[in-house]
């Protein structure tokens, strides 16, 4: 059953339309991550779901009920904010219990629920503390606890990890994922960090300029991006984009190289060829590009090499033990199965590798 359905959601602020008809169905218990650059509309979408903003048009359905005209408190959702928004004048116990203020549970049931949540989040010893006595990660857990205690149909997370340092962020990422596996509620998670999206999501929704660009599993959006935007946004370092032209059953790159790909494209059609740095290696089979190594970034097992070519600078991955040196002239090759071809005009994919 779908626990959240968005139908043609439009949002305008004054005369500026920021969401242009978003449609999406999220299954019960699914972990969906909205990802995109700043201003793409992901947080606005979340706020519309929460009821913190009014929709201009379109429909939001939560657990089988259209909630457009319901107050946030009646939508059966809970939200974790970027700044945690835990009340500094209340103890952890009160903060977590705050979400139950309006529930119809008895006092004993409330206490049991609160203690259960505190135990899940490993916060039982901290219940008497004030937020100022907690670390960043602990505060984040209190915020999650306050959301969990209400047992909502949908959890909404608005960039909750962006204020944490890198190490803590990785740890919290894991904790949230484990938590989801344990409690199984539907989660909508907003982030601008593609690593968060890839590591946590069951499905990723990639947004740009108020439009959904692609919806798919992490593997789908990585291996079969629908557009140049998705291709470049997901994966680090970004996919290399090379200008080319369809000529008969092949694609001719600016470098003069010919890639044999029978896509049935119109002769002379301008295309963009996308190759991930992970799929582009110095040496190997038939080379598609040549150039001079300008920068070398050793990562241990592999080394990233920046190569200056006729098609501009590209990034390739070399064996970390014997990487080419700066100044070396290298020929780069790629497996034809890993090559993505996009329409140069629409920027949409023409073929997706299997």
């Amino acid at each position: 059953m779908a626990s959240l359905v968005l139908r043609n959601l439009v949002k305008s602020f004054g005369n500026t339309e920021v969401l242009h008809g978003i449609s999406l169905a999220v299954d019960d218990g699914e972990f969906v991550v909205f990802v995109g650059p700043s201003g793409c509309g992901k947080s606005t979408t979340l706020r519309l779901i929460a009821g913190l903003e009014e929709t201009t048009s379109g429909e939001i359905e939560i657990a089988g009920r259209v909630v457009n005209h319901l107050e946030p408190k009646n939508r059966n959702i809970a939200m974790v904010f970027q700044n945690y928004a835990i009340y500094p004048h209340m103890t952890v116990r009160k903060n977590i219990g705050f979400g139950l203020r309006t529930s119809k549970l008895s006092k004993t049931e409330r206490r049991a629920r609160l203690e259960e949540v505190a135990e899940i989040l490993d916060m039982t010893d901290l219940l008497g503390r004030k937020p100022s006595q907690l670390s960043g990660g602990q505060r984040q857990r209190v915020a999650i606890g306050r959301a969990m205690v209400r047992d909502p149909a949908v959890f909404l997370f608005d960039e909750p990890l962006s204020n944490l340092d890198a190490q803590l962020r990785a740890q919290m990422r894991l904790e949230i994922k484990k938590l989801h596996q344990r409690v199984g509620n539907t989660i909508i998670f907003v982030t601008h960090d593609q690593v968060e999206a890839m590591t946590m999501a069951d499905r990723i929704v990639i947004m740009k300029d108020g439009h959904i660009q692609q919806v798919g599993t992490p593997s789908e959006v990585y291996h079969r991006p629908a557009s140049t935007f998705v291709a470049q946004f997901i994966g680090a370092p970004s996919m290399n984009m090379l200008a080319g032209e369809a000529v008969e059953n092949a694609i001719h790159l600016k470098s003069g190289a010919k890639i044999n790909l029978d896509l049935g494209l119109k002769n002379g059609l301008p295309v963009i060829v996308g190759v991930r740095p992970d799929d582009l290696h110095p040496g190997g089979g038939a080379s598609i590009l040549e150039g001079t190594v300008t920068v070398q970034e050793p990562l241990g097992p592999e080394t990233l090499v920046y190569v200056d070519t006729v098609n501009g600078e590209v990034i390739a991955k070399a064996d970390g033990r014997v990487p080419p040196q700066v100044g070396d002239h290298v020929a780069l090759s790629a497996d034809p199965d890993c090559i993505h071809v996009f329409d140069a005009e629409s920027q949409e994919v023409l073929t997706r590798p299997l």
Binding site: P72, K73, M79, F81, A85, Y87, F98, R101, T102, G136
Partner: protein, 293 residues
């Protein structure tokens, strides 16, 4: 071993002597201290004179010496035994307390609304409230008087209190402080199921406690020391507030300064208590503790 010892010795030789460690005399620093000292004297002098005068006999009032020739407590006994003083004291307590409570509630309610709600005309309302700050009390006294007269509030608590139950300054102060309360807190409470009034009271108000404390001190002191309006609106001696009552000690021919100063000295006690109670709430950084890492 020898090498280590010699190193220690060498190190101690290079240490500057105690005398050399003392910071050089800084003229700027001295000027600053002198200025602060003068300021301090200027602040303390009237209080010192007030207390000194309250301990003097009438004949030495105009002797500017800070130390009374024969200090005594007769003035205190006289003032405290005078039944009128208690009445004025109670009047002042009632008026200052009610106006303080009223300002805390209504100024913050309006400030919160102007700060956190988006509605047409919000800015105009705010400017209109602010613009009333430019009208001096002296100009308002006559309309207030006429209003009190027609409402039958002359010589009553209502009459004394009504102009100060809400202030533009308090509204402005609270609005500015509510700006520092992140919207996330309010939205989180909204999702948690609180209505707007509950959000204001249980979430927003505790977060602006320092501002409330400051407002309470301002309003209490302002009303405690208010003179012109209470003087005009009251007719009977029983309705006088402390400042008005104290000024009535004596007549045109003979002002009993020692009694006025005694009353004034006693009347500072509640203001000190208010300050001591509220100043501990003025702690910075309360709001930020619930945010970020």
């Amino acid at each position: 071993m020898y090498a280590v010892n010699s190193e220690i010795q060498a190190a101690s030789e290079t240490l500057p002597s105690k005398h050399a460690l003392r910071k050089p005399v800084n003229m700027g620093q001295i000027c600053r201290w002198l200025l602060l000292f003068a300021g301090g004297i200027l602040m303390v002098a009237p209080i010192a004179y007030m207390i000194s005068t309250s301990l003097k006999w009438p004949h030495e009032i105009y002797n500017l010496s800070l130390v009374p020739e024969e200090p005594h407590l007769e003035n205190y006994i006289y003032v405290l035994e005078d039944g009128r003083f208690y009445g004025w004291f109670i009047n002042s307590i009632i008026i200052a307390t009610i106006t303080t409570a009223s300002n805390i509630i209504f100024d913050s309610l309006v400030g919160y609304t102007l700060c956190k709600f988006r509605f047409p005309g919000r800015y105009i309302v705010f400017i209109a409230i602010l613009s009333t700050l430019m009208i001096p009390t002296e100009m308002l006294v006559i309309p207030w008087y006429l209003m009190s007269q027609s409402l039958g509030w002359l010589d009553s608590y209502w009459g004394i209190m009504f102009p100060g139950l809400m202030t533009a300054f308090g509204t402005f102060l609270m609005k500015q402080f509510f700006e520092t309360v992140p919207d996330d807190f309010i939205e989180a409470a909204r999702i948690d199921g609180l209505n707007e009034l509950q959000i204001w009271w249980t979430v927003a108000m505790p977060l602006v406690r320092p501002a409330l404390a400051a407002l309470a001190i301002f309003v209490f002191l302002g009303n405690w020391t208010a003179f012109i309006w209470p003087l005009i609106v009251t007719n009977s001696v029983e309705m006088y507030t402390l400042p008005v009552g104290l000024s009535s000690f004596g007549d045109e021919a003979d002002v009993q300064w020692e009694l006025i100063m005694t009353g004034a000295a006693i009347s500072t006690i509640p203001t000190l208590i208010v300050f001591l109670v509220f100043q501990r709430f003025i702690i910075r950084g309360v709001v930020m503790a619930g945010l970020k890492g």
